[in-house]
């Protein structure tokens, strides 16, 4: 016989109560009045310790009640032969072990305990059982699916280690749901071995498990945690004496019961450039600010390190020190020199800082192929389409990922842009439409979901409809229209050509055809269109493990033998692993799995200057606060399913057998019956007790 809750055996100590009551005859504190001690004084004195047990039947009844209660609460389970167990359980079971390998599992002995729990679950597998081991952090991966061999599962558990990623339970539960749904075995179980970080569970996650699934959480988190970490970094840029300088500020946390003095070091390219010290209270945070430093010409890896503790991975925060991004732009003005029509556009581009625009201006008549070198965007500001080789170079420029922004004023006609500029324009320029008579047109329909105009989708984000368009060029197009005038004519058009794109604005920026340049919304309007047309994507100085890193623009496009085009990169992880990314194999996005600095180069260019990607432990993972595992088990279980409250995996089988046998129920019933008998017996005996009137 086994017991599910053997600790309740401590309750046997309570047996001393009836023994003391019946044997020791503890003397009452209150005295018993008696008329005269004349005769009592003539009898020999009897000490209480010399007494023997009285009322044997009552004593045995009370002792039996205690014994039965202790036995019932200990949840006895009768052992059966393995075959009988399997028969009692109704056949094999499908077991899914969800093993958390997120960063927080590195804290203390969590991972050791988690591995032990997983091994215990594996050892508890019966001959007819199947098991799947799912390792999960922010993503889930079935290491061994539907395996019946314990050795294979044990090897998978032994070889796995916690990573740097954050915790998310939903992917693991979805994977478990899929596995269980496909199973034909009558019993389904899920064992969740984790530290149950609060940040990993979102109650809105749809992760219901199939009906009848038993969910058993195994909490391996220890109560007391002490950890210091660098939580975040902020880079403030400023231009001093014509040079860009940066001030680094870091936020440091101290989780634990004791205040700490923390030394923080700022490292650039592996060299300590600044040191600061601060005192952080218990379970508190602090901010450390270093002196500003000049930004190097080329991007450099940088880090903030604090005094190492038991979990060193979060004692460093990596980032990349580089100049603010800039978009090289070539503005091609029309044929009329000396005009101040172009002043609006040029001034608008000069103002931008994140990113800034590196503007070069050329007259259409002076434009050469060399002007396109290094540019990411060409703005044809009411200029005619060039002819000859220059037109071909422009077309190649766009096909290779460059951007073309066409401001269609009076100089942009079907004649000056023949053949839709070799197909770069989404539609051929039509006639000019004059709306002076009705005080101009306004933008009637704007696709605010489009990335180029999405910033205007929010409240108080700029009123594009405030501008009046007195004249505009008509385009006959059915698709790629980002905005329309109030008469339905396209106002902003887009066309993807190769890896680049063309944006056409069907009116001028000279302040004559419209008053848009004099509207406040003009500046963000131009910036957004220029950024979008150039393919600019805002980069980040700091990424977290699991964040996709957009690598577009790191290198040129490559072509494989099938003609399919894609961008391929080679990334070197912080641990030195080489990863091939993109190409024809998939998206050109790096999903880092390690904290540290990734070096990314275009494939086939080992000598090229790498792009540095700083990756850190997810901030939410550093929040070690926990949640009640029963919240998760209740959320994923269908109503009526059994939920275990958090016992070890080996006890799961025991718990099932105990639930099946339910011996405790009979013991309680017997105890209740004996209690009634005890009450009657005690009452009968107490009727003979003497109570003085006084």
């Amino acid at each position: 016989m086994s017991f599910l809750a053997p600790l309740f055996a401590i309750g046997l100590v309570a047996l001393a109560v009836p023994i003391l009551v019946h044997l020791v005859h503890k003397e009452r504190k209150e005295t018993t009045p008696f008329p005269s001690l004349m005769f009592l004084l003539r009898t020999p004195y009897q000490h209480s310790r010399r007494q023997r047990i009285r009322d044997w039947l009552l004593f045995l009844t009370r002792a039996m009640v205690f014994l039965l209660l202790v036995a019932a609460f200990s949840r006895p389970v009768f052992d059966r032969p393995p075959d009988a167990q399997a028969a009692a359980l109704g056949g094999g079971r499908e077991l899914v072990i969800l093993l958390d390998r997120s960063f927080s599992m590195r804290v203390g002995d969590r991972w050791t305990r988690a591995q032990a729990a997983a091994r215990q679950a594996v050892d508890g597998l019966g001959p007819a059982d199947r098991a799947t081991l799912v390792l999960f952090a922010d993503q889930a991966r079935a290491v061994r699916e539907g395996t019946e061999t314990r050795a294979v599962l044990r090897a998978a558990v032994d070889s796995s280690t916690p990573g740097d990623a954050g915790t998310r339970y939903a992917p693991a539960l979805v994977l478990a749901r899929r596995t269980l749904a496909e199973s034909q075995l009558p019993k389904r179980e899920v064992i969740v071995i984790s530290d149950f970080q609060r940040s990993g569970w979102d109650v809105s996650d749809d992760a219901k498990l199939p009906s009848g699934t038993t969910v058993t959480p195994v909490d391996v988190a220890s109560a007391d945690v002490a950890d210091r970490a660098v939580r975040a970094v902020e880079l403030r840029r400023a231009v001093v004496d014509g040079r860009e300088r940066i001030t680094v500020t870091a936020r440091v946390s101290n989780v634990g019961p004791a205040a700490r003095g923390i030394e923080a070091r700022l490292e650039v390219a592996g060299r300590v450039v600044a040191t600061s010290r601060l005192d952080v209270g218990a379970d508190a945070g602090g901010v450390v600010t270093f002196e500003s430093l000049a930004i190097p010409e080329s991007p450099q890896q940088a880090a903030i390190r604090i005094t190492p503790d038991a979990v060193p991975s979060d004692d460093v925060l990596h980032f990349v020190l580089e100049r603010a991004p800039s978009i090289p732009v070539l503005v091609v003005e029309g044929l009329t020199p000396g005009s101040d029509r172009e002043v609006y556009l040029q001034r608008a581009l000069e103002i931008g800082d994140r990113p800034s625009f590196d503007v070069s201006v050329r007259r259409a008549s002076q434009l050469s192929a060399a002007d396109l070198s290094g540019k990411r965007l060409v703005i044809m500001n009411n200029a005619p389409w060039p002819t000859g080789d220059l037109a071909r170079r422009l077309q190649e420029f766009v096909n290779n990922g460059g951007g073309l922004l066409v401001v269609a004023g009076d100089a942009v006609t079907a004649t000056s842009w023949p053949g839709r500029a070799s197909g770069l324009l989404p539609a051929a320029p039509g006639d000019m439409k004059d709306r002076l008579a009705d005080k101009g047109a306004i933008l009637g329909a704007i696709d605010r979901s489009h990335p180029a105009l999405s910033v205007f989708g929010g409240a108080q984000s700029g009123d594009l409809s405030a501008a009046r368009f007195y004249r505009y060029r008509t385009f006959q197009a059915d698709s790629g229209i980002l905005a329309r005038f109030d008469d339905g004519a396209p106002a902003v058009l887009e066309q993807q050509t190769g890896n680049g794109r063309t944006i056409v604005i069907a009116s001028s920026f000279d302040g004559l055809w419209n008053d848009l340049p004099r509207q406040p919304v003009f500046l963000p309007f131009v910036h957004q269109l220029a950024q979008y047309a150039s393919g600019y994507r805002a980069g980040r100085s700091v990424y977290e493990v699991g964040d996709p890193v957009d690598l577009q623009g790191v290198g040129p496009a490559v072509a494989d033998s099938t003609g399919a085009r894609g961008l391929a990169y080679v990334a070197v992880s912080p641990k030195g692993n080489r990863l091939r990314i993109g190409g024809t194999q998939g998206e050109a996005a790096l999903v880092p799995a390690e904290a540290g600095i990734y070096e990314v180069r275009p494939a086939g260019e080992p000598g090229a200057r790498p792009r540095l990607v700083a990756v850190n432990i997810p901030g939410r993972e550093l929040d070690l606060s926990r949640f009640d595992p029963t919240r998760l088990t209740h959320s994923v279980s269908t109503v009526g399913d059994s939920i275990d409250s958090g016992s070890s995996p080996a006890e799961v089988d025991l718990a099932q057998r105990e639930r099946k046998q339910s011996v405790w129920w009979y013991l309680l019933l017997l105890a209740a019956t004996l209690l009634v008998a005890e009450s009657m017996l005690a009452h009968r005996l107490s009727r003979h007790r003497i109570t003085p009137v006084n």
């Binding site: 005859h25 003397e27 009452r28 009045p33 008329p35 003539r42 009897q46 209480s48 003085p692 006084n694």
Partner: protein
């Protein structure tokens, strides 16, 4: 019907021997009016069972005797003289001129009881009943409450029933008890032969009790001793071990009842036997009263015994 009367009826109907009803002491305890209790109890009995120890000149003719010089000529039976020409004097049985004195022990031990009434309360009812009963026979009734001395005294008188009842009512159990001194004082104060009813738990050695009663017996009083004991005192049915405290002296001793019970009951039985034997030898009427028994049952037994004794006498 008043509440008290209703309680009496209830008391009569609670329990009893077939053909008789006895008053439950617990019910009587709910009645505050001691006179009412006494009247109801007594009127349930036969009346006039006891005889006066003196012959006198009342209305009930007893016998004739020959005239002797000096006899009161008012009691001469002239009809007999006319018929026989001899002088005879009429003797009458005097039944209204006895003193009935209740001697109530009010020592602390009398305040004990486990069966609804303390011994003192039980004794009050008994004393009140018998005083009322005697008063109905035109006896003079009085009361003496004693502990180790005389506490209260109501001299016997035909008009003192109410004072006797009031004296009984206000008696409280306290103090140490010792019969020798107060009984000696009673014997010195009562020159007229009386019926003396002693109500006590007699927690003294039997020989001391005999010695204490000796002066009263020697003075020619008719002594009746009612020995009141609670069932717990008789059987010692205590269960839990604990400290027992003497109600009179305040002395405390640890007691394990289970081990003492046998020896204790032996001692108390021996004491009862000794008391009964010694008092019987001194021609003192002795009655052991279990306070759990109905009062009228005790009265019934007492009066029957008195009747038998009168017959013997």
């Amino acid at each position: 019907m008043s509440d008290a009367a209703r309680s009496i009826q209830e008391a009569r109907s609670t329990e009893g021997v077939p053909g008789r009803t006895f008053l439950d002491p617990k019910v009587l305890a709910r009645i505050d009016d001691l006179e009412l209790v006494a009247r109801f109890v007594v009127e349930g009995f036969i009346s006039g069972l006891h005889r006066s120890p003196h012959l006198g000149f009342s209305t009930d003719f007893a016998e004739h005797r020959q005239y002797m010089p000096g006899d009161d000529t008012r009691h001469m039976d002239w009809r007999v003289y006319a018929r026989t020409d001899r002088l005879y004097i009429k003797n009458y049985e005097a039944d209204t001129n006895a003193n009935f004195l209740v001697i109530l022990d009010v020592s602390g031990s009398m305040g004990y009881g486990t069966s609804g009434l303390t011994k003192l309360e039980y004794a009050k009812y008994l004393g009140a009943c018998l005083a009322y009963f005697s008063h109905r026979q035109r006896d003079r009734v009085g009361l003496v409450t004693v502990d180790s001395d005389i506490v209260d005294f109501v001299p016997p008188s035909a008009k003192h029933l109410n004072q006797v009842l009031h004296g009984l009512d206000r008696a409280k159990a306290k103090g140490r008890g010792s019969l020798a001194m107060p009984l000696l004082k009673v014997s010195e104060s009562q020159h007229r032969r009386s019926i003396l009813l002693l109500l006590s738990d007699l927690y003294e050695p039997a020989d001391k009790i005999r010695d204490a009663l000796g002066p009263l017996r020697d003075a020619g009083h008719d002594l009746v001793v009612m020995h009141l004991l609670d069932p717990a005192e008789l059987n010692f049915t205590f269960d839990a071990a604990g400290t027992f405290e003497d109600l009179e002296s305040g002395e405390r001793i640890p007691v394990v009842p289970g081990r003492l019970r046998t020896r204790y009951t032996e001692l108390i039985r021996d004491h009862l036997v000794a008391v009964e034997k010694l008092l019987g030898e001194g021609r003192i009427d002795y009655l052991m009263v279990d306070t759990s028994k109905p009062i009228d049952e005790v009265l019934f037994q007492y009066l029957l015994r008195r009747e038998r004794m009168q017959s013997v006498r």
